[in-house]
Point group: C2
Chain length 229, copies 2
């Protein structure tokens, strides 16, 4: 029976991209419901009725209104017939995927988003000034995290965040790591493991990876061009 | 077969308390391995071999070294015969528990811990000064979150965070909310739903709730007494 799954997202949001790639790649049938964060469409009363947290991504189906990308991915893996590697049933491997999914909130997600928001988004949205000292501090925190992923999660030639196959952990990770590119920061420079891993995730999920990152790539190019002037 | 489960924790850490209460209440056999954060025992090379993230809580058993409280709870619910209400198998209810578990990282956990660390822990550990304006800002963020829990998660007389029975979401939530009491902030004042819910969680898990909070209660009393001087 069709669940009439509706997906609310904005491809400028990192977890929105991750879930978009996941839905496309797994061929889960869904209806696209784009929400423009830039236009404040998530702040309306209509949207609050869909998601009380007023954030994207979120889903609505016949059973539930659900927010939080990680909770949504787990739900979809239970409700649809997706390949096991996305969220493995093996208890030990699942624990390892879960560990990354919980760890990333205050690491990959927090540090890449903070740097991006402080140096790029807030000046454009609110006209706020960038204190170079504070920007350096945020960049240093981001680099510590990216180095940890390079040397720990992807150290010793590990092809993916957990084990030998792609999982939801890789999708969520890579979409966070792509974000600061819009602010002119290249997360892959000097990080060969991260570079090869990103290419691996991209190849495993294309054409959806490139589709999800189309607008981000355009903004990243603009920033690089502007910085050269 | 015994898994020889070892639990590494410090009862001054919020998720350490939540997991301690969970292990005790579910009667999962485990070995207590206290780690003193105050003495920096988590920063040693010995501890790094146990947990590469150098944080508590974490576990070690015959199968895995695992960090991240939420991932550990999910793992224990799979590996041991615990009552279903802790992490329900019903897909819709589980999705709702998962939603809270993911949401709390940048909400309950982030705001209560930030206020506690800025106003109480950092001045004591590093001698750092408290800027009253910044403290007010952190308190306002915490209060917005506590009000959301009061009115949304626990609104309309809901007995627990999700549904009619206690789950791991309640344990993680209440242990975060107790934390700022050490800094002299009473999260329950003016929040009747939160107060009744905390009492409900406490009753459902005692004597372990009080055991987990024994040292915290002592420090909270000291702060209140000091503020009266």
């Amino acid at each position: 029976m069709s669940k009439n799954l509706k997906y609310y997202y904005d491809l400028l949001s990192q977890p929105s991209r991750a879930l978009f790639i996941f839905l496309e790649k797994t061929k889960i049938p869904y209806e696209k419901c784009p929400v423009s964060l830039g236009k404040g469409q998530h702040l309306t009363d209509d949207f609050k009725a869909i998601n009380r947290f007023q954030k994207v991504p979120c889903i609505v189906d016949n059973q539930i209104n659900l927010a939080e990308s990680v909770a949504i991915m787990r739900y979809l893996c239970r409700e649809y017939n997706v390949a096991d590697h996305w969220y493995p049933h093996d208890s030990r491997v699942r624990a390892r995927v879960d560990e990354y999914l919980e760890w990333q909130h205050h690491n990959t997600r927090a540090v890449c988003a903070t740097y991006f928001q402080y140096t790029w988004l807030r000046p454009r949205m609110f006209g706020s000034k960038v204190d170079p000292k504070r920007a350096d501090q945020y960049r240093a925190q981001m680099e510590t995290c990216l180095d940890f992923i390079e040397n720990e999660f992807l150290g010793g030639g590990a092809p993916f965040i957990v084990g030998k196959e792609i999982s939801v952990a890789d999708l969520l990770a890579v979409c966070e790591i792509e974000q600061p590119r819009m602010a002119g920061y290249d997360p892959y420079a000097g990080r060969p493991n991260l570079t090869k891993w990103m290419e691996r995730v991209r190849e495993a999920t294309n054409p959806y990876y490139d589709e999800a990152h189309k607008f981000l790539n355009k903004l990243a190019q603009d920033t690089v061009a502007k910085n050269k002037l």
